[in-house]
């Protein structure tokens, strides 16, 4: 038994048992953040806040949702939307939150790509972040099944069909995933389990990992500058806050974080109350009907770029393209052959690569929503080919990059 002195305050009592003072220093008051950053550095906290909102609104939806193919639709659209006190609020918050979390994830991702925050010690931050993207995608997909509307059913049908592997005809695998020949009770129940328990646990674990991988390398800054953290920390602690290149996470960085979150919440709740149709597509307000496919099936907007990479090609080619597109972002730290950690604007050809990639996924997103016909098909094909061309070009242009 370690020796314990009598404590003189509650704070000291807690510190003796849980080392709260050390924790506070390591995680907050002496966790140094570069001063040379902008509001985009707050996106991580915005994501954590949105995840929290999804969790809480999800808890109240979970109190009334029924994962049964006969009652699921009405448990959401009748019980929760009109009977439960403020049930409509939780539903709107959850739907809008699910859409916005992806908007912020994409902004967060492309910020990381722009500033080179995935290399030289930060590879695991990028990989754990990509892991979070995959986990959130699984969470979104499984969640979308639950209202058991027309889009839920047919998205479930189409996406699980992908696992037949095209020419491989692995129908047994598709049936195993579904637990049935078609999306039915077994399918709904297991995706309910995934959405409510397994994937959220994975997300929480990955978030902890993501923070952990961030602590030692520290966050990046707008110039990609490498500087002496202990030296800057000493300057700050000595009271030279203007000269120091760093600020403590708490309370200084946090105060700006909270302001950015405030602006975000105004936008968030404006959508929740006044502009929510984009997050709750009308097609899903028709109850699931296994004998009738809607005229237009499309995934939620954040999956459209991925969906479009699959569509222009024949079955097998499309599947390979789709699978590749899912994992290719993981390879970024390794395909980028340049050692430069700097904003894209200073990295020569990489500048064009960045904006070309951003515009390309935007075009893929638009084409993914439109019916695959006429000129839209053509543009979609060009955009999909461009996507792969860009990735192939990446190691070439970055190995030629001038060292900064």
């Amino acid at each position: 038994m370690a020796h314990f002195e009598k404590a003189n305050s509650i704070g000291e009592w807690m510190d003796q048992r849980l080392a709260v003072n050390t924790l506070k220093k390591v995680m907050q008051t002496e966790y140094w953040i570069p001063k040379n950053i902008n509001f985009l550095w707050a996106m991580g906290m915005v994501l954590a806040a949105t995840f929290g909102i999804l969790l809480i609104s999800g808890i109240f939806l979970l109190m009334y949702y029924q994962p049964n193919v006969n009652t699921a639709f009405d448990s959401v659209n009748y019980t929760i939307m009109s009977e439960v006190g403020y049930g409509w609020l939780w539903r709107h918050v959850h739907g809008v939150g699910a859409s916005l979390v992806f908007l912020i994830i994409y902004i967060h991702m492309f910020t990381g790509i722009y500033y080179g925050s995935y290399k030289k010690g930060r590879e695991l931050i990028w990989l754990s972040g990509m892991g979070l993207f995959v986990a959130f995608s699984a969470e979104a997909f499984s969640g979308y099944m639950l209202p058991w509307g027309q889009m839920s059913y047919w998205a479930g049908m189409v996406i699980t069909n992908l696992f037949s592997g095209g020419g491989l005809h692995a129908d047994f695998l598709v049936e195993w995933i579904r637990g049935d020949y078609v999306p039915g009770q077994a399918f709904l129940n297991r995706f309910f389990m995934l959405h409510v328990l397994l994937v959220p646990l994975a997300i929480i674990g990955l978030i902890v990992l993501h923070f952990g991988t961030l602590r030692i390398p520290h966050v990046n800054n707008q110039d990609g500058e490498e500087f002496d953290y202990p030296e800057a920390a000493e300057l700050y602690k000595a009271g030279k806050v203007k000269e120091s290149k760093v600020i403590p996470f708490s309370p200084v960085f946090l105060s700006k974080d909270v302001f950015v979150m405030g602006v975000y919440f105004i936008f968030f709740f404006y959508l929740v109350f006044y502009h929510f149709e984009f997050a709750m597509d009308p097609v899903n307000f028709d109850p699931a009907d296994g004998l009738k496919t809607p005229a237009h099936i499309y995934p939620e907007w954040y999956f459209l770029w991925s969906y479009e990479v699959l569509r222009p090609f024949s079955t097998n080619v499309g599947l390979i393209a789709f699978a590749t597109a899912q994992v290719i972002f993981f390879t970024l730290p390794f395909l980028d052959r340049s050692p430069n950690v700097a904003p894209a604007s200073r990295r020569g050809a990489f500048k064009f690569w960045f904006w070309a990639m951003l515009i390309d996924v935007l075009v893929l997103t638009f084409m993914g929503k439109l019916p695959p016909a006429g000129i839209w098909s053509t543009i979609g094909l060009v955009a999909a080919l461009t996507f792969f061309a860009l990735w192939i070009a990446l190691p070439i242009i970055t190995s030629r990059e001038k060292k900064l």
């Binding site: 509001f39 985009l40 200084v252 700006k256 935007l362």
Partner: protein, 326 residues
């Protein structure tokens, strides 16, 4: 300010993303159909016939709606119409029987919710008036209401009955009544606890067995009626509980005015609702499908105000924390 510029770029890309995925995509997927302002004079019907390049049909439709126009100019005698209406009441009464597929709707407020021209057209030729004549290739007599032309044969008779309906079968009508009369015999409304037979009766379970025999019998009756509707129409008309969120208001408006305009070839007949009738029906659809609308519109400004103040306070806190840092 560099940060403002960065924010601007992010905002622009976000707005472009939204534009492409929502307004633009939807404009490409759903062509905008214009309504006809709830004027029932055959314009839409004749346009459709002309587009289908069916000369005979165009002639028939033009002649029909011209006749309707003539009858509309006659002065109807409501008292004479009352006697004629007694024949209608034989089928159009509470607890009416199913007539070869559908149960005739109540006409208790027909004068308040339906358009006068439409009523004239309906009595003259139900299939033509409701724009489902393509479903009756063997003529109107095969329509469940086809025999009405034998009972109300002269233009003056028609004018009289319509005058009676407009005078005596009008008055105050609730949104629920408007829906029940115009839509309820085909479309159930489970969120409103209504089937094609109206309100679902309250029943009690047998305490020994846990089974509610009365409810089971009622559901059996409903199932038989729905099967009959599905056979007659080709499919069961959908439950409209949440239709107000499943389709846009514009779509519903133009669809109800003339189903053929949005879903060519559909079995749904035109309803002939006038402006007041349409408003009442929409009110009911919203009451049932979006009952939290009022509370949502009341709570929204409060929540947004909260976050406006929150952001202002956060900004001031940020300034106080960053003093001397820049």
């Amino acid at each position: 300010m560099k940060e403002l510029k960065i924010f601007g770029i992010v905002a622009i890309f976000t707005l472009v993303l939204y534009w492409g995925v929502e307004p633009f995509a939807h404009s490409q997927m759903h062509k905008h159909i214009e309504g006809h302002g709830l004027v029932y004079d055959g314009t839409a019907d004749i346009e459709e016939a002309e587009a289908s390049k069916n000369e005979e049909k165009v002639k028939a439709k033009k002649a029909f709606w011209a006749d309707v126009k003539k009858i509309a100019t006659l002065k109807g005698d409501a008292t004479a119409g009352e006697a004629t209406f007694a024949m209608c009441a034989g089928c159009h009464m509470d607890g009416a029987a199913n007539m070869g597929g559908v149960t005739p709707p109540s006409l208790n407020h027909a004068g308040a919710i339906y358009d006068k021209n439409f009523l004239i057209a309906l009595i003259k030729d139900p299939a033509m008036a409701t724009n489902v004549d393509h479903k009756y290739p063997d003529g109107t007599m095969t329509h469940p209401m086809g025999s009405v032309s034998a009972m109300v044969s002269t233009p003056q008779d028609i004018a009289n009955v319509v005058a009676y309906i407009k005078a005596k079968k009008a008055g105050e009508v609730t949104p629920k009544e408007a829906f029940t009369e115009a839509c309820g015999r085909c479309h159930a409304m489970r969120y409103g606890k209504m089937t094609q037979f109206g309100d679902i009766p309250k029943t009690k379970s047998n305490i020994a067995t846990g089974k509610d025999v009365e409810a089971i019998k009622y559901q059996a009756k409903v199932a038989v009626e729905q099967a009959s509707l599905a056979t007659y129409l080709g499919k069961l008309p959908p439950d409209l509980s949440i239709i107000i969120r499943a389709r846009s208001e514009h779509f519903l408006h133009t669809f109800i005015e003339n189903p053929q305009s949005e879903l060519a070839g559909t079995a749904m007949p035109r309803t002939g609702l006038d402006k007041e009738g349409m408003e009442k029906v929409f009110t009911y659809l919203e009451e049932t499908g979006d009952p939290s609308k009022a509370l949502r519109e009341e709570t929204g400004p409060k929540v947004l105000l909260f976050f406006l103040i929150f952001t202002a306070l956060a900004f001031l806190w940020k300034k106080s924390m960053w003093k001397g840092h820049h």
